[in-house]
Symmetry: D2
């Protein structure tokens, strides 16, 4: 192992820079050099990169985004792009490649790994927390706290106006973000794509809360549950209550990472560099049962991470 490549790919997540910093410094401590591929997969396809050194990654841990830039590259997963990326790795003598990104990026990494001798290790970084093999991804804790801070503010208005707010959070097709946010803001109802919640249940819940003397309420909805505008409008029509919709947008994806996202980025990077130093590839690092570990990359890509639905039940009781 002489040369390690590192790339951030897919949607940015807070803590990606902390991971880049940690990979670089930990690799240097083992006398590896580090190449940073730019703009996500595009940099692999076009062989666009720059050398990273302990000094050049100074002062970036606390920054959101990624200094290497990133892109969603649906074109990448064509055979010719994968071939080009493999050529880039070969011609630059990259012995190991660390791919920092979410589900889609890890799938691409998996496909690339079949066409190259370069060892590939994935580092899960996405606010969606939907990567199998890790209890938590880099950026998730930050996104949760950003959404919680906003909804704490929105509740001021909900209470003052005695209104119901539907707050839509990110999470793509999954409900990890909505579930954790919902519990920690005390949402009266949490809508996740994994569970079909009939409108009757939502309305019943509102009625029940109203009877208990609650005059305002927060419904946290994952973006994956469908058109929240329609849900808001239907609730308004059927209850006669004032209902407002607020979409917590891209702020969830940026901002200075929380301590936990920074720590996870450092620990994941450490594991990834250790794996490569030991000649192991085709792995995705992760946090399992409170320990840093790794699993087979194909297993990670092909398995759907389960959502702990028992939490939904607890959330309901907590918001009584």
């Amino acid at each position: 192992m002489k040369t390690i490549g590192v790339v951030t790919s897919g949607g940015d997540a807070p803590g990606m820079n902390a991971a880049i910093r940690a990979v670089t410094r930990l690799a240097y401590a083992k006398d590896f050099q580090v190449l940073g591929f730019e703009k996500g997969w595009e940099g692999l396809v076009t062989s666009t990169f720059r050398a990273l050194t302990p000094r050049s990654v100074g002062g970036i841990m606390q920054l959101g985004g990624t200094i290497l830039l990133t892109s969603r590259c649906p074109h990448f997963r064509k055979p010719e792009s994968i071939k080009k990326a493999a050529e880039t790795l070969a011609s630059n003598k990259v012995d190991g490649l660390i791919v920092i990104g979410g589900n889609g990026s890890l799938k691409a990494a998996c496909e690339l790994s079949e066409k190259t001798n370069t060892l590939i290790v994935g580092v899960p970084a996405t606010i969606d927390n939907d990567v199998y093999g890790t209890d938590e991804t880099i950026g998730f804790d930050t996104a949760v706290n950003t959404a919680v801070a906003e909804i704490d503010k929105i509740r001021d208005t909900a209470i003052s106006h005695e209104r119901i707010f539907i707050v839509e959070v990110m999470g793509r097709t999954r409900g990890f973000l909505a579930l954790t946010v919902g519990i920690t803001v005390g949402a009266e109802t949490i809508l996740v794509p994994e569970v079909k919640t009939p409108m009757e249940e939502i309305l019943g819940n509102i009625k029940e809360n109203s009877e208990k003397g609650k005059r305002s309420g927060i419904i946290v909805a994952a973006e994956g549950v469908g058109d929240t505008r329609k849900i808001a409008s239907e609730i308004e029509t059927r209850t006669g209550a004032e209902v407002r919709l607020s979409i917590i947008g891209y702020a969830q994806r940026g901002g200075s990472p929380t301590a936990r996202s920074r720590l996870l980025a450092s620990l994941f990077a450490n594991e990834a560099v250790e794996l490569l130093a030991n000649g192991q590839g085709n792995r995705v690092v992760g946090l399992q049962n409170g320990k840093i570990t790794s699993i087979d990359i194909e297993k990670s890509c092909k398995t759907e991470k389960p959502l702990d639905l028992s939490l939904l039940k607890m959330a309901r009781t907590l918001a009584t």
Copy 2:
């Protein structure tokens, strides 16, 4: 002057509680008692209120929202509602009424003042900053900082993905919020309702920035400029660039007030109580030329507050 009433009305704004606290404690220091009308104008119409004391307003200065609750009451401005509110003031021997709210609430106050002997003083509190007679309203500074903090995060993603973001902020029909936010986040383009910005100019600006080497950009748009979804979509179509829309929602209306919103609330309350103590009504307090002062309530309601367009020009140069 023996009894002062206080009411928060219209959209809530951070700092309303600080104003309630200051009114109550400053009034008590002058041996007035204080009645807090609940749920905005509704409390005046239905004679719903509670006594406020220095102790009962403790620990509220730092809270968003309003402990007195509020409502938008379009029905209020009917003659019979105004009559009922006047009766409420008379039957409870309210000598002076302090109305904390925005433009609409002050107009209602103005109408009420014609039907009652109770002295009425307005305290401008709205995140829209659109009240004539004051350079700044309670809550404006907080809303600006909330929006700025979110857009600072969004810029992380804009830069990392080399995208253009349109960020819609509140402000109703006016551009005060958008203008200050736009300057202080370094927006490349600021769209306010007071100035018609042709699409050609927006596109020209993007092209110019691109030629200078800027690969991402932030357009801050006031909600009053129209359908930002359409603007985003047209820019995307005509430039071929990735454009994303993010709507900074109700979080702008809540949250712990900034020091400045708390200070302004205290100073405005002080001026309002002094006016009533001196037997003066039909006034709206305000900050003018750096000093706390007041103007005639009718003048305030009937005059449109001008937006300083020279700042727009400066903003353009600052974002080069």
Copy 3:
């Protein structure tokens, strides 16, 4: 099980209110009533309490501090106080008592448990994270993030003035807080009570960093390492560099809890109520290997929680 008591004790920690709320609502869902003892152990000794209901704990999850108040009660651990507390539990027919607090409070709980038939369950809540049997305590994540946010600001001045800053964080006799904070702010040196760091090593580290071109530096020191004023002064004398000391104070103990502290509080409360419902006492709930579980209270009190020193080594490499 008909009646559950709950008490917060020792230094306050962000998330205690989230735990009180969760205990109350989860207990009510099982048809238990809940008594909240006030001012920590003092309330147990003097039989001062109030009934808590799902409604009376509404809107408190996001608040720092504890609505039940707390106290450090060194007198409590006298035999006569323990006897009185046992009498309080008996005379109020408290079947189960949940003690929310840190190490000292859990020790007192342990002693009390020997003198009463009331089942006692401890819920670890302290920013020090020094309770054996749980990987994390309620409040720890919040305190870490508060300290990190402050040190991120201090680094601005460190860099601009090319200075070395020693930043002292809390943690009493232990280094959990300092270690996590140190890693996540990228501290060049981390001083914890568990490891004796000779002055020569600190100076050597500074010299090494200086040779690498680093012109500023952050040393994070746990309060337990001794007089940081002296350390700062000795470094200044021996290096000739400008050294400043900043003590991150009580802000670490307060503030709105992070999502993680709120979640942990909810999960711990859930486990505690389940234990009591199942007739189990003498336990301390905790997070172990990523799962919520519990251990024997005596074991928790009499075992010292180890600090993971391998992280210190990694931190050194990460800050190169």
Copy 4:
């Protein structure tokens, strides 16, 4: 006017980077080139500088500290240093120099102005807000909000433990910061160097609050009032209450500037560039009566800015 120099000097203040950015871009719009002198006055004495361009100051507005670095340079104000600085300006054909800093820096600027033909304009930037000729300095609003956010957290502990906290804030010899912070956190007592507050008055105030039912309290003290440790200890001895001291440290000097600090930096920079473009020097820009303006630099340096003591009286009533 062809070449403008810019330097940040003295203690750093949040918004200095926003001022550097604005100076550079506004100067370029007038076809001036901009030289940034490094490390404060040291860069002027040693002729160390770099060219600043619209692109090189991109992305810095939201950063604390100063990209040009700064230093406190007591040696500078010797005649030979001033001579050298004048030579630096002459040999680099600097037509105008913008000095961004506090009181000490402006005094140095004043002395330099007597020895050079370069036009000199001061831009007040200091968290102490102690520059005559401006109602507010760049960085003040940020420092106030940082301190307020911390004290809001400290109050959680004060209330939960029923303790009195003395919180020391910065401000050097003046009380501007303490006064604004004190009012906006609702401090029961505010200690500023401009007013001698006898211990009897502090104790009387505590007693009075206690009689009203307040069981905790916050005393905000400016660092300029003397040894807060002693004050805390004396209050503890004489009241028997638990008193804690918390010193809000260097975090007040750093961090991302608030919207207001960014806006003020932009407006001040605009005025400074306009003055130089019009051939005017020996001025300090400022905010007076709500308008951006400027005054003679010597007047600014030789006049002590008054503290509005009427606010202290209001603060006392507000905290009843």
